[in-house]
Amino acid sequence: MTTLTDEDGWLELRAFVEPLELPPGGDGRVIAEVAIPRGGHIEAHEPSEPFLIPTVLRVTSPGHLDVGPVEYPPPRERRLSWNPSPLLIYEGTIRIEAPIRIGREAAPGPLPVTAELRYQACTQTACMPPTSQSVQFAVEIRSGPRSS
């Protein structure tokens, strides 16, 4: 397994697969850890207002990999004076996960995976346009029978 951390963007995005190795047909999970700078936030996956840009994680691979529904953490409520209802946001460090299944025809060796996070961030003093950050990593496909 390899992991890569994207430090070039506004936030820190780290992603990896658990377990470390999987056989063809095996199930695992992609875990994306998102470290949001202190004092800042990104909008929830299901924001509270229609004008807010949702946070979305996309997991893709050019190889034999099926990705299940992405699971987002529960958002926090942030009450702001200008909005009648609390806004739903992510702040601090969050984990976004997605179940994966290796294709039965996958060959042994590293299978490249990309996790791309699209988000719109605000700090206490400014908001920024939506942007995307992505990390590339690999899940190691081992030879052998499918694990249960």
Binding site: E7, D8, W10, L11, E12, A35, P37, R38, G39, G40, E43, E49, P50, F51, L52, I53, S81, W82, N83, L87, Q120, C122, T123, Q124, T125, A126, C127, M128, P129, P130
Partner: protein, 309 residues
């Protein structure tokens, strides 16, 4: 050394400015005069040790061991964080204009800075201007939109706005002088801006619908987005006023305040300009998140003053 000389790179700086003891304040437009005592020693190819003390705290670069305090409440780099000061031009034995790039070696993001210094061994005498583009992941962003940290854009109250033309969302062309003789409210917006979305229904309901039958024109300018992206936004909020598209962000350059760390097309978002019939600026404001009012009450109050209640 000779007499101290503290100069500003440009106007609009910190209210804490004081000759000879001006604190470093990277968020007010990035200018600073460095008070004595200070010392710069070039120690190698493109590398220097800077050691100086502000009245508000230490400012030291020594063997790349950095303990830099900038106004305490604005930005702090403390401990053994490493900074490489990469001189690109000058900073030798004579006063020189230089431009440097600071990069914490454990980060890939860079900070840029430019200015002029006195000779090696100088005690004071500096002009700095720069941009803090970077920040530690664990530190607040060095961006601030509060009034005290905002430098006026090109158009201030009393200035006459030059004519401009932009494509409309409906395929036509909107020209500012088409509304000469009317009071014009220019609102700069973007679909991604949460504050713009919060304000959007009130722009239509409480400003345009209320004042449109007087000598008034509301024009919304969408900044650096495609018309295709803006059209659903307009439909969602039922805007019936003209919406013009500054897709390249060129117009934003003429109206945007200078805010550290923010490009013009971001800094201008949610700005309001009220112009009289001769395109003279009567009122302007920029987004202030702490005092944000989705109903744009200060704008409405100014329109009431100009157009009547």
């Amino acid at each position: 050394m000779g007499s101290q000389r503290v100069e500003k790179a440009r106007s609009g700086g910190s209210s804490r400015d004081q000759a000879g003891a001006e604190p470093l304040d990277c968020n007010t437009g990035g200018h600073v005069g460095i008070p004595p005592p200070g010392r710069v020693t070039v120690i190698g190819d493109g590398l220097a040790v800077v050691d100086m003390t502000f009245d508000r705290g230490p400012f030291q670069f020594a063997d790349f061991e950095t303990n830099l305090t900038v106004n305490g409440d604005v930005l702090q780099l403390t401990g053994a964080e490493l900074i490489q000061w990469d001189f690109r031009d000058g900073a030798g034995a004579v006063p020189a204009i230089w431009e440097s790039r600071w990069r914490r070696v454990n980060q890939r993001r860079s900070q840029s800075y430019a200015g002029s210094t006195c000779p090696v061994g100088w005690q004071a005498c500096a002009i700095y201007s720069g941009t803090w583009k970077s920040h530690s992941e664990k530190e607040p962003l060095p961006m601030d939109t509060t009034a005290s940290h905002t430098i006026a854009g090109p158009y201030d109250v009393g200035d006459v706005v030059e004519d401009f033309a932009l494509p409309t969302l409906d395929g036509g062309e909107g020209r500012l002088t088409d509304y000469d003789g009317k009071v014009v409210l220019l609102v700069f917006t973007a679909t991604w801006c949460p504050y713009c979305g919060a304000e959007a229904p009130f722009l239509e309901q409480e400003i345009w619908q209320r004042f449109k039958d007087r000598d008034f024109q509301l024009v919304v300018v969408d900044i650096k987005e495609s018309a295709e992206l803006m059209r659903p936004f307009r439909e969602r909020y039922g805007w019936t006023c003209p919406v013009w598209s500054d897709e390249q962000g060129h117009l934003a350059l003429r109206f945007a305040p200078q805010k550290e760390g923010l490009p013009p097309e971001v800094a201008v978002i949610n700005a309001h300009f009220i112009l009289d019939g001769a395109r003279r600026v009567l009122y302007r404001d920029y987004l202030n998140m702490e005092r944000f009012d989705a109903r744009a009450a200060p704008v409405v109050a100014e329109l009431e003053r100009v157009l009547g209640p």
